[in-house]
């Protein structure tokens, strides 16, 4: 795979939140404001980037049977570092993200990428994959939090600041995303069919001429 393709893969084609549907807990919980979403996205990018890098570097040393515990230790160490940095330099962000900083350890995106990508690919591709996936996650939660914050703060619908609003908006955003994807696929198929038809007609005409 090309390097640019690896990077773009996480943002659109295999977007962790909208297509692969993993890492849902923080998606619903912290998308109450855009600053939370960007803060969470930055934390996930940081952890994912270094966990992918470290795991791809040690992938030949770690025995296959104990790879998952090793991955978990690497990820937990990085999350502890993130938590300490947040507590020291960004206390207000730490307070609003709450326990969800610690829960990055069990975010399926990070362990999933370690298992599916970093344990099989070189460090450069793994770093690009981490950046793509992390940005895909950040973009998706930013869109959701933008909608929720608009509804809750500007229109004054307090329901959208609670988990209820999180469930609804996440459902609607994924649904619309999938509907648009289906529409595009259908259009492409129609175009293909038309092309094939034209080609057939042309070949039939040619045969008739002959």
């Amino acid at each position: 795979m090309k390097k640019s393709q690896i990077f773009l893969n996480g943002i659109i084609k295999e977007n962790p939140t909208l297509v692969m549907l993993i890492g849902m807990c923080p998606t619903i919980a912290i998308t109450t404001s855009i600053s939370n979403a960007i803060g969470m996205g930055a934390c996930v990018i940081f952890v994912l980037f270094f966990s992918n890098l470290i795991i791809s570097l040690i992938r030949h040393i770690v025995p296959d049977e104990i790879r998952i515990p090793v991955f978990i230790v690497v990820i937990a160490t990085l999350v502890t570092i993130t938590q300490l940095i947040l507590k020291a330099y960004f206390p207000s962000l730490d307070a609003s993200l709450g326990e969800f900083v610690a829960l990055i350890v069990v975010n399926c995106i990070i362990l999933g990428r370690a298992e599916a990508f970093a344990s099989k690919n070189g460090p450069v591709s793994s770093m690009l994959d981490a950046l793509g996936m992390g940005l895909g996650f950040t973009l998706a939660i930013s869109v959701i939090s933008l909608i929720r914050q608009f509804l809750a703060d500007v229109l004054g619908l307090a329901m959208f600041a609670s988990p209820v609003g999180g469930f609804i908006i996440l459902g609607l955003v994924i649904g619309i995303f999938q509907s648009v994807k289906l529409l595009i696929e259908k259009k492409n198929e129609l175009k293909k069919k038309e092309k094939e038809k034209k080609e057939k007609e042309v070949s039939v005409n040619k045969e008739a001429v002959k």
Binding site: M24, T77, P163, G171, L172
Partner: protein
């Protein structure tokens, strides 16, 4: 006694693990397509939450807090959870093969369930003593089981409903979950 009842009620209904705190959404959406699977997952999670929270609580109180090593909390807790889940699996296999058969496939998934680590962390953050910890973890687990049970029944109906193609599966399930969350969030008025 009254405090314990309030903790139990909040953990079970108003601050429900799934619908109030939004932990454990992955199994909530992933394993709720069939009611029998959902109940199996719920029982397994309840079991693991109660055992791991008791162990991590004791470890935090008697080792980490005593020797000023609280910064190791995340690392120690996740390792305890991962190894305990593994041990429970081996233990069940040996002692009760029928229970193992029923819960076996769900156990490995529980390590990465936010609800388990979330409850273990929350008990520390809230500064609970032993009885509060036990009640909180038990009712959080039961709350998880309860919501899994209701939602899987709901979802079996939703799956057959005529919805636009793009909304089939996950999106419509999330919207159904929102309706359920709305009901649960209003149950606080009972007290």
């Amino acid at each position: 006694m009254k405090d314990l009842m309030i903790i139990a009620f909040a953990a079970f209904l108003t601050e429900n693990v799934i619908l109030g705190r939004t932990w454990g959404i992955c199994p909530f959406l992933g394993v709720s397509k069939k009611q029998s699977n959902a109940i199996g997952m719920g029982v397994a999670v309840t079991f693991v939450i109660v055992i791991t929270t008791a162990v991590t609580w004791a470890l935090h109180r008697y080792i980490l807090a005593r020797f000023d090593m609280e910064y190791l909390q995340i690392l120690v807790f996740i390792l305890v959870i991962a190894s305990l889940v593994q041990m429970i699996e081996i233990f069940l296999k040996k002692v009760s093969p029928t229970l193992y058969k029923a819960l076996g496939i769900y156990l490995p998934l529980i390590t990465t369930n936010c609800a388990v680590l979330g409850v273990a962390n929350a008990v520390i953050d809230l500064g609970y003593g032993f009885p509060e910890m036990l009640v909180f973890s038990l009712f959080s687990g039961l709350g998880f089981l309860f919501v899994m049970w209701i939602f899987s029944g709901l979802r079996e109906k939703v799956e057959t409903a005529p919805v636009p193609e793009g909304f089939k599966g996950f999106p419509i399930a999330l919207i159904a979950a929102a309706a359920l969350a709305l009901i649960f969030s209003r149950l606080g008025g009972i007290i």
